[in-house]
């Protein structure tokens, strides 16, 4: 792992188990996330982009398991770490923003209390990292320090100014008033700002944002994306944006990873992928994006549909839908080829 990377994912595979069998939602993912990089993970539903995000943050649902691979953060493999220890990183140093802010905020506590809780947990974790008590002999002492503070009634005064600072940073008007509001009293854009403020208050080195603007209107989406892009430099964080929308990715991301059926098919710098998409699936996706009017252009849809991941196709998973398919594609999985300096593609066409 080079020192420039915040997080390195190697050969990661995650399976969902059911009575019908085991389904590999992601299979053999290699991914490096650079320092202060805005990476977009783009793909259609069922391609495994959300599973990738959830695996990084450690929030995989029950009945799923990490089959293989590693997620290296600060020379620690998060996959091998026991869950309690992983908490030192996840949520604090690696933050997450979800699609629907109403479900990620607690409906019965004022948003100010929730941010206060986040900040005090951060302070607690920091003090733990500086003088580790976990594993020390005195059990009671460990218990005392690891107890997570809860605020139910009143925001502690010592945290108030910091909370207001964070709310100001995400451009919430009248932060003093917003502190005392419940999530349902805020508009969609405001809620997502509160969630972003909570995530950023941890000063994470990596923020995973899973479709953070899909539930929002376009004018609000523009505001939130602009905000994320600006705050990225201020807080010195890297962002992994999981999205289905190439247009959103093109507006904010530095680099794009295109996923198809649980695999990364192309990994490229944003301008490269738009000027010369290499993988047939990426090309197909671009021709599906409506631009211009019906008189000027016609959309070319990709024939067929996504394979059932319970029984993925042998060889390249895109082969059944690919117009450039060759014999080798149906037998072997394509290697990941470095085509240009900032562009890698998993396709036999470029061998």
């Amino acid at each position: 792992m080079s020192s420039n990377n915040v997080l390195s994912v190697r050969d990661l595979a995650v399976a969902y188990e059911s009575k019908a069998g085991s389904l590999r939602a992601i299979d053999g993912i290699d991914l490096d996330i650079g320092q202060n990089e805005f990476l977009a993970v783009v793909g259609e539903s069922g391609c495994g982009k959300s599973t990738l995000g959830l695996t990084i943050i450690g929030l995989l649902p029950e009945k799923s398991r990490i089959v293989s691979g590693s997620i290296t953060y600060k020379n620690v493999d998060l996959v091998k770490l026991p869950p309690k220890k992983a908490l030192q990183y996840r949520g604090t140093e690696i933050g997450m923003i979800f699609q629907e802010p109403l479900t990620s905020l607690n409906p019965v506590y004022k948003v100010g209390l929730q941010i206060a809780e986040a900040i005090s947990i951060r302070n607690l974790r920091r003090s733990q990292l500086n003088n580790p008590v976990i594993g020390s002999d005195s059990e009671s002492e460990a218990k005392k320090v690891t107890k997570i503070p809860r605020f139910r009634q009143k925001i502690p005064n010592e945290l108030k100014s910091e909370i207001i600072d964070w709310l100001n940073l995400v451009r919430i008007p009248d932060p003093e008033q917003i502190l005392d509001r419940y999530a349902f009293e805020l508009s969609g854009g405001m809620r997502q700002r509160v969630v972003i403020a909570m995530a950023l208050s941890q000063e994470p080195s990596l923020l995973v944002a899973d479709e953070p603007t899909t539930a929002l209107d376009v004018t609000t989406q523009a505001q939130v994306l602009k905000l994320m892009k600006e705050l990225m430099d201020k807080v010195k964080t890297s962002i992994v944006l999981v999205t289905h929308d190439f247009a959103v990715a093109s507006q904010v991301a530095d680099r794009v990873v295109v996923m198809y059926a649980g695999k990364i098919v192309e990994d490229a710098e944003i301008h490269n992928i738009f000027s010369s998409p290499l993988h047939p699936y990426t090309k197909g996706l671009f021709s599906c994006i409506p631009s211009g009017s019906k008189r000027e252009s016609s959309l070319k849809a990709i024939p067929g549909s996504i394979p059932n991941l319970m029984y993925p196709p042998r060889g390249c998973r895109f082969a059944p839908r690919c117009q450039y398919v060759m014999d080798v594609c149906q037998v072997n999985a394509p290697p990941f080829i470095q085509k240009q300096q900032n562009q890698k593609v998993a396709c036999f066409l470029y061998e």
Binding site: E44, D217, V218, T219, C288, L299, S305
Partner: protein, 341 residues
């Protein structure tokens, strides 16, 4: 298009198929206690407020706007799915808001495709039955003919005959939406309302459905009213765009004009906020739009966009702007439209 002041002198155009006149739809705000002596005014959500819009025959009119702007309410009032508060709707010269009009007469001519095919298709009915039901109800054709019509409309949306015997859960999202479209075109209506027909679908499936809709329009000379928040979809499908904001129609005109040279400050902001798939043109990071859509319970007085508008003056907070013609079929409701020239 008829704005309120020029409505009388317009001769009835034979090209128009649907027209709403001063259409209003207010929803009462729930949770208000009944108190006849209260001095408080009863509160209403003005979802659609004084919308007069004309839909030309054989064309596609896209109604765009953000959530809460009233575009879906407008579609529901046109479909008769919710009673209107005031105003009239004319379909082919016939006033369909007249109580004497039976739903059967209406739905023979006007059909709708909803956003989510999972909830608009009966999970326990086969696809064939779903398509046949409106035919049984609305037309007087016999069983054999219905069967043929079902197969014909399935074929028209690119599905094979066997699909008639499947149930929705066996289909993919795109296939389900195709079935919903087949059901809408089966009674050969004059006009189809498309309420966000592709927003629940992936881009590759969206492309298939958009191409299908265009093909059907060409083959069957259909008129579409497309409700969408997606500017790219509106641009691709429509001939005319109507922009709604907080229950009001703020701009109306040919698609190229509206998207190429919008004049209402809201339309300008809306188009500037729509992400363009082009990393060399990062419009989003330059977009400067403040605030959010106002509550429709107590909308701002005067022009409803005035709290967010960069050009707002005192007049905007007092007087509601009316739609006025500023170019070829281009109507804008703004007091200071010259500022955006």
């Amino acid at each position: 298009m008829s704005s309120s002041d020029q409505q009388e002198d317009e001769q009835p155009q034979e090209l128009e198929i649907l027209r709403t006149v001063h259409l209003r739809k207010f929803y009462p705000v729930r949770g208000q206690t009944f108190d006849p002596f209260s001095r408080k005014k009863k509160k209403f959500v003005s979802a659609v407020d004084d919308v007069s819009i004309t839909i030309p025959k054989g064309k596609t009119v896209a109604i765009v706007g953000e959530s809460g702007c009233g575009k879906t309410s407008l579609a529901q009032t046109i479909m008769g799915l919710t009673p209107i508060t005031s105003g009239e709707i004319y379909l082919d010269g016939l006033c369909i808001t007249d109580r004497k009009i039976k739903p059967r007469q209406l739905y023979r001519n006007i059909q709708m495709v909803f956003q989510d095919p999972d909830s608009s298709l009966d999970p326990r009915m086969t696809v064939g039955d779903s398509i046949a039901e409106p035919l049984q109800e609305l037309t007087s054709v016999n069983k054999q003919e219905i069967k043929e019509l079902v197969f014909k409309s399935l074929e028209a949306v690119g599905l094979s005959k066997e699909f008639a015997f499947r149930v929705p859960r066996e289909l993919s999202g795109g296939q389900k939406q195709r079935v919903a479209i087949a059901r809408a075109i089966a009674p050969s209506p004059k006009i189809i309302l498309l309420d966000e027909p592709t927003s629940a679908l992936d881009v590759s499936v969206q492309a298939q459905i958009l191409s299908l809709l265009l093909e059907l329009q060409r083959n069957y000379k259909l008129t579409y009213v497309l409700i969408t928040h997606n500017i790219a979809v509106a641009q691709y499908l429509s001939d005319t765009v109507a922009v709604m904001y907080a229950g009001n129609l703020v701009e109306y005109g040919p698609t190229e004009t509206i998207l190429g040279k919008p004049r209402h400050p809201y339309t300008i902001a809306l188009i500037a906020s729509a992400p363009v798939p082009d990393p060399w043109k990062r419009n989003l990071l330059k977009a400067d739009i403040r605030g959010e859509v106002p509550s429709a319970v107590d909308p701002p007085t005067g022009c409803r966009f005035n709290p967010r508008c960069p050009f707002a003056e005192l007049k905007c907070t007092k007087e509601k702007p009316q739609l006025a013609l500023i170019g070829q079929e281009h109507l804008v409701a703004c007091h200071f439209v010259e500022k955006t020239a």
